[in-house]
Symmetry: C2
Subunit: 393 residues, 2 copies
Amino acid sequence: MQNFVFHNPTKIIFGRNTIPSIGSETIALGQKALLVYGQGSMKESGLYEEVMNSLADACVIVVEHGGVRSNPLLDHVQQGIAKAKQEGVDVIVAVGGGSVIDTAKAIAAGSVVEHDVWKFFTGKKSVKSALPVLTVLTLAAAGSEMNSGMVITNQDTQEKFGFGHRLLYPKTSILDPEITYTVPPDYTAYGAVDAIAHVLEFYMTTQDTDTPVQARFMEGLILNAMESCERCLADPRDYGGRANLMWTATLALNGLTAAGLGRVGFPMHMIEHSLSALYDVPHGAGLSVVMPGWLQWYLYQDTARIARLGQGILPSAQFQQLAGQGERAVAEQTIAFLRTWFSKVHSPVTLTEMNIPAEDIPRIAENALGLAKVWRLNQYSQAIIEEILRGCI
Amino acid sequence: MQNFVFHNPTKIIFGRNTIPSIGSETIALGQKALLVYGQGSMKESGLYEEVMNSLADACVIVVEHGGVRSNPLLDHVQQGIAKAKQEGVDVIVAVGGGSVIDTAKAIAAGSVVEHDVWKFFTGKKSVKSALPVLTVLTLAAAGSEMNSGMVITNQDTQEKFGFGHRLLYPKTSILDPEITYTVPPDYTAYGAVDAIAHVLEFYMTTQDTDTPVQARFMEGLILNAMESCERCLADPRDYGGRANLMWTATLALNGLTAAGLGRVGFPMHMIEHSLSALYDVPHGAGLSVVMPGWLQWYLYQDTARIARLGQGILPSAQFQQLAGQGERAVAEQTIAFLRTWFSKVHSPVTLTEMNIPAEDIPRIAENALGLAKVWRLNQYSQAIIEEILRGCI
């Protein structure tokens, strides 16, 4: 195991009827809140009113900043920062999924500096302070509600970049699984895919494999994401299914899976970010295309690693049958197991399904290469990324 | 899943050569520290000098309070409180295992009130503030380094009581697996047994079994405790073994396994605390005696629960063979699997092995009943506790 510091100070309030606590949690940290949210669905569902009432009851003054879209954009972040500065807000309340929470974090960091917020993402400036962020989560997927990271797309440069800092952990996150009853099947599945991708990135890229504590935890999270997603698709109002999917997605990227692994990479996200940036596909959909292709390529780099995953996630009877056939067979069936499951929940597994033509591969790879440099994934050349993408056709 | 609040603010600094950071971590919280530690072994190993040098380098003034013993005593806590008040210390540094850390927490809570500290344990007073606590962990076992609980024995009343409060999470805990190279085989095993017991209490007593996220996490921790313990016994200087055992024991009781389970009980600890209080046996040794007996009794209450554990922890091939024989067979083999493992690592599995005669059972049960009342384990009558203990002969 590698040395690590684990310090996740986010307070999670989880369960039914927890949203009315947003007011008292917020007023403990500030008096004037920027309320960040997405499109109109929150208003239709009654969630907007519930949050506004709670904030009003606690005497929090609210400045609104709605309109965050999926794959959130830098210019909308910049508008939020201008608003926060102008209005003198001292706390940010995010009501939404990962895109909304990431936007809130970027505003929290950008509101206390004079320079452009994008400089944090390109590594030209570092965070020294930030406004406190609270969240009300509406989608089980990104894990942003309990970590310090964020991903924003710069529409001018077509770059979708991620960045994190310990001052950006939300102070409090409220997770009410009932809010997610109305998440449609496709986005329910994309959320589960996103959680699985977060786990797989760490599982596959750690250089230190003497980490069984983390490995078993991650294998469990993958199985939980699958099982709970299937329950939600079968019955969107299955509380247990929604609750287990929500907590799984949070734990999949709250730092605990990574603690002790040493340096890890996000190569699948790197390639997917280019798909999102260039074609605006849903993040989870892009990931279910990239994952099997990347794993198929990675099979030749580290068969044992994929086979170890298979031992942890393949059904016991299937694993017993395969065990005599060697590592390679187990690894191949593990990739097939994941690909089949993505298809089962109707998440795409090929570029073709997303109407992205094979001719675009060099252009996608070129875009991904930009992020490879920022994330220091130096082993990924244009040729290698193209090779991986050809496995995704 | 049940509603929960999860908020664990402890900062973990894990790995090799991390002890020298104790000075800078401490001075950030206070200028005058009460240094709580156990018997002499820390001085022989050089750890005492390393900690003192780091504190001196950071200009922390140190008041010493050594002499904590295993199953820590109330009068020693009271002496520490008197010293802390007299010297005006503003931070507590614990260097040791669970007993030392628990003593430090009790002093931290007791130093800021006028009443006797035992009133917290009997529920007559509640904690409203506490001095900050930092820890340097020397034993993988109790999990106290990342939770808000503590267990102290009142030698006058022969009561070993536990108590917790959110203000008692250590601010920082330093976990260097290399410190544990010198832990002897018996205490290495008792530590692993303690971690397994913490997991089993939650796993078996939750009323909400629609909690697969927690269940899989716990099953993994049990397997990790077993595997890493065996590695440490085979080679006491196996860094990976020590590191995985240490992190497992911490995660086994840091609140994450319990979050979402709703109300849980600690019936096995309840009975073991009586063994420790009456016979001063090592906590882990007492637990390996109580666990199989309690599980054997519990088999008739909830066979399915034990069988579910078996599915998670029995070797895949063994489980496949058993699966056709029904739940009862799986559950029985699961208990046998645990008992056999305790014996394998030379932790006792009968009262006889600890020289506790069967005639003492009524007296032990009577003692345990006192804690059953405090912990509200109302289903445990004198007769039931005696029945469980008869299964431990």
